[in-house]
Symmetry: C2
Subunit: 170 residues, 2 copies
């Protein structure tokens, strides 16, 4: 166990608060407005995941990344497809699977959104020195990694202990 439990106890609720703020309605409404986009939050998240990965992804891969169940992704992808922001192709390696691919329009839309958010962030952290920002990026990145690894292991353990869910991601 980590030594500095008190520090952790003080940081945790504030990170939760940050997480809530990052997922808040206001932020999404304002950012889409500024970027001239009409799109639900999870749809935009899917575009972001596809852009970050740099290659087409399976529906299941997107669901795992988002930590949601498959059907939710299916529905969002349908909306995105109707708007011409992604298209789906059958995976040549496994014809049960579908690969979801960004269209040029989808790529462009996500870049506009990203631009708005990044501009906000660079203003919010206006006063930070390069040193502090470097340290934050390093430690914050490690924190995210360690937490996500822990979570993954906890989920794997649960899956082993509870049969009857036959491998579906939870």
């Amino acid at each position: 166990m980590v030594e500095d439990v008190d520090g952790l106890f003080s940081l945790a609720p504030r990170l939760a608060q940050l997480g809530a703020a990052l997922n808040s309605n206001w932020l999404h409404v304002r950012a889409t407005e500024l970027a001239g986009i009409t799109l639900e939050r999870p749809a935009l998240q899917i575009l972001g995941i596809l852009q970050a990965s740099g290659k087409p992804l399976r529906v299941g891969e997107i669901a795992t990344e988002m930590r949601v169940e498959g059907p939710h992704v299916t529905r969002q992808v349908h909306n995105l497809e109707r708007k011409g922001l992604v298209h789906r192709v059958v995976d040549p390696d496994d014809r049960r699977a579908r690969l979801v691919e960004l269209t040029p329009e989808g790529d462009e839309v996500n870049s506009r959104y990203r631009e708005v958010v990044m501009t906000w962030l660079s203003h919010a952290f206006d006063s930070w020195s390069k040193q502090d920002m470097d340290d934050l990026v390093r430690l914050g990145g490690r924190m995210v990694d360690d937490f996500l690894v822990f979570l993954q292991q906890a989920q794997d353990v649960e899956r082993e202990q509870r049969p009857g869910r036959r491998g579906r991601e939870r």
Copy 2:
């Protein structure tokens, strides 16, 4: 603007990922299960806010803290009241307002939940040195503060620019 824009660009999506994980269904289901609680996520969030504040709060104050609209809080508080975890009293200073107060049971329930989450966190950050954890707490805390201040200002600016919402928090 901050100098180290690249660092920020790399950290931001990972923080969003962390935020999504912290708000994920799996985490909530598992934590409530372990704590022996049956309660929706926003309800638990309200208990946490009340416990952290250490005093009864108005419905409006809770809504602002959660960054949601008032009616949502009203509904959650009703559920909590039915379960005996909070009770509402008329604010003696302003009889329009209601103060929401933790009951001993509510306090106890939130402590159990908190215990589960904190145990997880201390395992997830097992390998961290005291120095690194101190730095993370310091820089991470400052990051949260700066971001929330920025957000608040942005919201205030918007409220000034858009009449017709007559002061209701947005």
